[in-house]
Amino acid sequence: MRPRIPADRFASLAPQVSTPTLRLLALFGLAGLAFTATSSWIRTWVPLPDDFELAARMHELETSADPYDLVFLGPSTTRCAFDPRVIDEQLRRRGHPVHSLNLGLPGATSFELDHLVERIVAQPPPGLRWLVIELHPAEPSQLIRPANLFTDRAVYWHTPRQLGDVFAALLRPRPGQGLRLDRMALHLRHALWRFANVGQGDRIVARALGRDPIEAPDLRRGFAPEDCVEGPGMKAARERYLSQPEQVRRREMRLDRQDATPVPVERLNPGKLRRQIESLRGIGVEPVYVLTPILSPVPGIHSLHRERILPTLLAFDSPRRHPELYAPRNRWDDLHLNEMGAEIFSRRFAQGFAHWLDTGLER
């Protein structure tokens, strides 16, 4: 028979929940509410990060006298591929006069882009009709590079909703990876920094005093191919790309085979996409998803399209169907096009977009 543990053995561990304790908790709760309300009010004054003229381009989108009806949202592959001047010209010739803006943001993940969509939904830009969103292989474990930890850019998109999506992505089982609690803790800290507006005082005051004027984006309307060729990282990527033609070829072949290997859509957080689509349609904006000509497959996107979760998908991720976009002379590296490639891509995109506008069908 097992010896009985005396009843008072753990008495010292028993919580003393009493009226003063409850009163104390209520006061802490009240302080928390006051904190939350004040922080939320202060957050309305926090400008967007200055990286890649993001604040300027969003300001332009929201306040331009000549409203933008077509906007491209995505990472660097958007920034360096969609040339609004070429696209506007091509669409005008096809009977669809539009005014477009490139909101491509190098390094952006689906979570950051989703936050920008949230912002667009919260403050709908006048005249916006189509939002072209690039789908990109975002790996949650690579969301924030060590050099960017706790920068404005890393913090600003950590809304409660995005934090939930990041947690969901991190909790999704992946071969050879554990729970990744350290990553979750890191994102939680970023969310708390955002919640408390940590370190934003200077920027808020600069904005309030008008010392942080938002410059209008340049004439290329957010298209900046130089962002994808400058810096030691980009040069190394180009060298890798040029020095391994066989590997590039193999990757191209894999890309063309990806349609043959459907991925169960439950693994891809379709709820998040549905939510995004519904919220955009709620403000009268039609989302158009796009796959740019990169050499890394975005797993499962074609499955999502086949299951009609993605209503519209303009796909340029096939070297067989778009050989010019994969020709080394038109590319910088395995992800990015060069300026010539961007022009070809912009024409192709405009053709596909016009076709979709005319027929309701993707090419």
């Binding site: 003063p20 009163r23 802490f28 009240l30 006051a34 939350t36 202060i42 408390a196 507006n197 005082g201």
Partner: protein, 463 residues
Amino acid sequence: MLFSEFRYLPFFLLVFAVHWLLRGNRARKRWLLLASYVFYAAWDPRFCLLIAASTAVDYIAGARIAALEGARERRRWLVASLVSNLGILGFFKYWNFFVASGGGLLSALGLAVEPRTLEIVLPVGISFFTFQSMSYTIDIHRRQIEPTRSFADFALFVSFFPQLVAGPIVRARELLPQLDRRRLRSDVRLRASLTLFLVGFVKKACIADHLAVPVDAVFAPGAGFDALSHWLASALYGIQIYCDFSGYSDMAVASAGLLGYRLVRNFDFPYLSRSLREFWRRWHISLSSWFRDYVYLSLGGNRTTRARTLRNLASVFLLCGLWHGAAWTFVAWGAVHGAFLMLERTGFGPWLAARHRALQTLYVTLSVTLAWVLFRCEDLPHAVGFLAAMTGFGRAGPEQLAPVWLLALAAFAGLHVANAWLRLPRRLAALPPVPFAVAFGVLAALALPWIATGHRPFIYFQF
């Protein structure tokens, strides 16, 4: 782990919650002891052994001193305690300094020797916990306190995490009696402690860390700033170090206060002093009173001849300088303060006392600011060059600090004076609970955007 770091928040919340959930005093003290060692281990777990060893030696020495009657035996155990503590301090903090200085002296005398310095990591807070521990055995030797019978209590006294790494230096007679009695909720001055923590946090994270930017720029060896920028940077450094250290002390006192323990106040508006003598009664109070009680008075204090009093003062301040760091700049800083205090013991003191308050404050501000240059510079040649640049004799460059820092200096001075007059934190803490909760939440939300991002450890950690 720093009080201003994010990880301190969950750590303290856990310690706080478990502490108050536990009923027995013994269980609470064991919990705090464990938390204190975890707190220290967060920096480097190896040095927990050092604290444990120092604790064991002083616990045994204290017990032996109390048990013995013979003066010689009692003194022998006291010496053992002092040698142990000063030995730890001397090895970890001063070995390389003395070896290098000795080597330099011999070289100057023409005896070529190669000093053998060691790759030693300076344990964080070593100067604080060794001094705290020593005060215990000295007080027992002086028959001012009885030794504690509980080793765990003594271990907690030495390692109590709020004051472990940067003070205040708490005396055994202040903390050990508090450990004897179970802390009650009535021991917690909740509003005062929360206010003090917020004030300390703002001083450290929002003021001191921001001021580090211009100060580091001007004090960087080879920086080309003009004379006015040198003056401004020295004054800003005075604010930085005050906000950094007093901010830490405020958070330490507040953390202990939330657990029901009272620690001594370490700062009392030192820049509003009327003399250097008063300054040292208001600046790092726990250290200056430690030196007063255990060194100055032991040497005879001022109840001796005038010459000896001056000698005692000089000795205390040279030691005080050396306590702050193993470098000649710190010794020189202590010497300058000692010199000013000796000056105040002459006819200058009464003359100053009869002057207008503004002149007195100007004298204190100027002398302290000039001394801070020695404290901040990398070495003596750097300090001499810096002082020369301030006075126009040295090589000053064309660069200038932005005028906004002059505004910051004026704003701090205004705030300091206004706070001394209005005692704003005390008024906040005196609010009824509900308005206090709302005000605290609002003020915390207003403060956090002003945190200087970028990791800056407390300046006093190096001591």
